[in-house]
């Protein structure tokens, strides 16, 4: 089972520029979480702070009792072995073949024999569908393949926590759908805590158990997926609908005058009903995700603290059971 990641009061600035402040959230053990947010809101910075690559000025990131911000470097290096991080463009070592790239963590951290390493690496290569490309150099393959190779390398040490930085960027919709399925299958197999940073709405709608969103230097919300999907906060609704009307502008955010002018002329854009698409299931033949039961208990326990719309959506989801077909759910505010 994965490890819980607790973030408390994290604040990050580069020089005078504040990226986000006072971010607190808990990634529940073994569950899949997605962090949304417009470009440039510091999602990748957040990911790198979790793993201790960047040091926020305030706050803590607790993993197994180790604070990834302030603990001694030695402890941080030790804790990083629990992580698998998939970089935006793979971050493969350009001078090594895919096989050597994926074998790198094994050769550095274990004393396994070469035959054993070969077996594990080929298994991961098959998992991400790269069989036959293991002798190629990273420069010789496409961006999507590099991404998948990066994922294979992140998985080779059986991580307890998997972080994915924009797994969809540069992939076509079909490959993105396959990747979504791969991530869910992965969670079913190794039951790791997963955090995916993305702005892809398909991944956001189908993959996660929990969702959060960054905007205007703060964490707008984080909680069970239904909370965000039924939220009527303008930022969230604008982002999920992919509209121009709303607080998000071309360059980060709009000023008040522009917003007022927009509000005057936007009566033609009612918040139409938003569907809550059922979450992806693991592929046939795989064990069910252990996280599902845990999440159900956790979410039902906190049900009273959630907004009414989210509560209704969660009840609805669990009432339908896992095998229910796609159902549409009217969004709040549409009068139902």
């Amino acid at each position: 089972m994965g490890i819980e990641v607790v973030v408390e009061g994290l604040t990050m600035s580069f020089g005078k520029q504040n990226i986000w402040q006072d971010v607190s959230l808990t990634l529940p053990a073994g569950e899949v979480s997605v962090m949304l947010g417009p470009s440039g809101t510091g999602k990748t910075v957040f990911l790198k702070s979790l793993i201790g690559l960047l040091k926020p000025q305030q706050g803590r990131v607790l993993i197994n009792g180790v604070d990834m911000v302030n603990s001694p470097e030695r402890d941080i290096y030790e804790t990083r072995k629990l992580f698998g991080l998939m970089f935006q463009d793979g971050a493969l070592f350009g001078s090594m073949t895919l096989f050597d790239n994926i074998a790198f963590p094994l050769r550095e951290h274990t004393r396994k024999r070469e035959s054993e390493i070969r077996r594990i690496v080929m298994e991961r290569i098959e998992l991400v569908g790269l069989l036959g490309a293991e002798d190629k150099l990273p420069g010789e393959i496409s961006g999507g393949m590099r991404k998948r190779a990066g994922l294979a390398r992140a998985l080779v040490l059986d991580p307890q926590i998997v972080l994915c930085d924009e797994p969809d960027s540069g992939l076509d919709p079909v490959r993105t759908a396959y990747l979504s399925q791969l991530l869910i299958d992965l969670n079913a197999r190794i039951d790791a805590t997963m955090l995916i940073v993305t702005h892809n709405l398909d991944i956001a709608a189908t993959v996660p158990d929990n969702m959060g969103m960054f905007f205007r230097r703060r964490l707008v919300t984080f909680g069970p997926r239904e909370v965000l999907l039924t939220s009527d906060e303008p930022v969230v609704t604008q982002f999920l609908a992919g509209r121009r009307e709303g607080p998000i502008g071309m360059s980060e955010e709009k000023d008040a005058a522009l917003l007022a002018a927009e509000a005057a002329g936007s009566a033609s854009h009612p918040a139409g009903p938003r569907d809550i698409v059922p979450q992806l299931e693991p592929s046939p033949g795989l064990p069910p995700r252990a996280a599902v039961t845990r999440r159900r208990e956790r979410v039902l326990r906190m049900l009273d603290q959630l907004p009414p719309a989210a509560r209704a959506a969660i009840r609805d989801t669990y009432a339908r059971g896992a095998a229910a077909p796609t159902l549409t759910m009217p969004a709040p505010g549409s009068g139902s």
Partner: protein, 254 residues
């Protein structure tokens, strides 16, 4: 501005300290060390030899002409050999190590940094300093020491040849003044300088390579800066070491 310069200096020293500590941490990256040693040696040996012949010649000619005017031709050998071994040789070595080896190291680390390879390495719990920087710094130090021996020999031979053949000096006077003025500590300080210069070249190249400023152009700038910074440090450190040496080691002729 000043605070920025001080911060950079501080971080450079911090990296130097970290590398010194990491040298003793297991596992030692022997393979990487050998590869880097071979690389640095292969790009510096030939230019070093080719530079040291004319350099030895120039010093021999200049010193020879001066001593001739002073009527001290018989001391030409000792003077020019000391100049080659103590000053010219370590500096030639350092300039080549920094210019040929250090720039390549800086570019290599810098491009790995902007491709996030170094971040990936850290994420996998492997320290880039221990894995990449330590073998490179040790390689530049080892190559510097060995290369310094070669440059000293070639430079001295070059000086000897020009003094005897072109200036009509006598081999006997050259060799006897050599043994009258030169002593073993001259060779020790020469090798010590080479070792220190090799360390500086390696550390500065690694430091600039690990901290490029934004994108491929940043890597180019970093390489440029690493060479310039190394040169400035080298001449300053050379002055300090020479000053200390002349104070604490009594001259043989005196």
């Amino acid at each position: 501005m000043i605070a920025g310069a001080l911060r950079q200096t501080g971080r450079l020293f911090a990296l130097a300290a970290e590398v010194s500590r990491a040298v003793f941490r297991r596992p030692f990256q022997f393979r990487e060390f050998v590869e880097q040693f071979w690389f640095v040696a292969s790009v510096t040996i030939l230019p070093a030899a080719l530079v040291s012949i004319p350099f030895g010649a120039v010093i021999a000619l200049q010193v020879g002409s001066l001593t001739q005017q002073l009527g001290a031709q018989s001391f030409t050998g000792g003077a020019s050999v000391l100049a080659v071994i103590q000053q010219a040789s370590p500096l030639i070595v350092a300039l080549l190590i920094a210019g040929a080896g250090g720039s390549a190291i800086c570019a290599d680390l810098g491009s790995r940094k902007i491709r996030e390879e170094l971040d990936a390495m850290e994420v996998m719990g492997v320290s880039p300093v221990q894995r990449l920087v330590v073998p490179r710094v040790l390689a530049t130090m080892a190559v510097a020491v060995l290369l310094n021996g070669m440059v000293s020999v070639v430079g001295t031979l070059g000086g000897y040849f020009f003094n005897i053949v072109l200036q009509g000096g006598t081999p006997g006077a050259y060799l006897s003044s050599f043994s009258a003025l030169a002593q073993l500590p001259d060779l020790y300080i020469s090798e010590l300088k080479a070792l220190v210069f090799g360390f500086i070249a390696g550390i500065v190249a690694a430091y600039r390579g690990l901290n490029p400023r934004g994108g491929p152009k940043g890597v180019g700038d970093a390489v440029n800066q690493s060479v310039v910074i190394t040169f400035m440090l080298l001449f300053f450190v050379n002055m300090v070491l020479t000053g200390i040496y002349l104070q604490i080691v009594p001259p043989k002729g005196g």
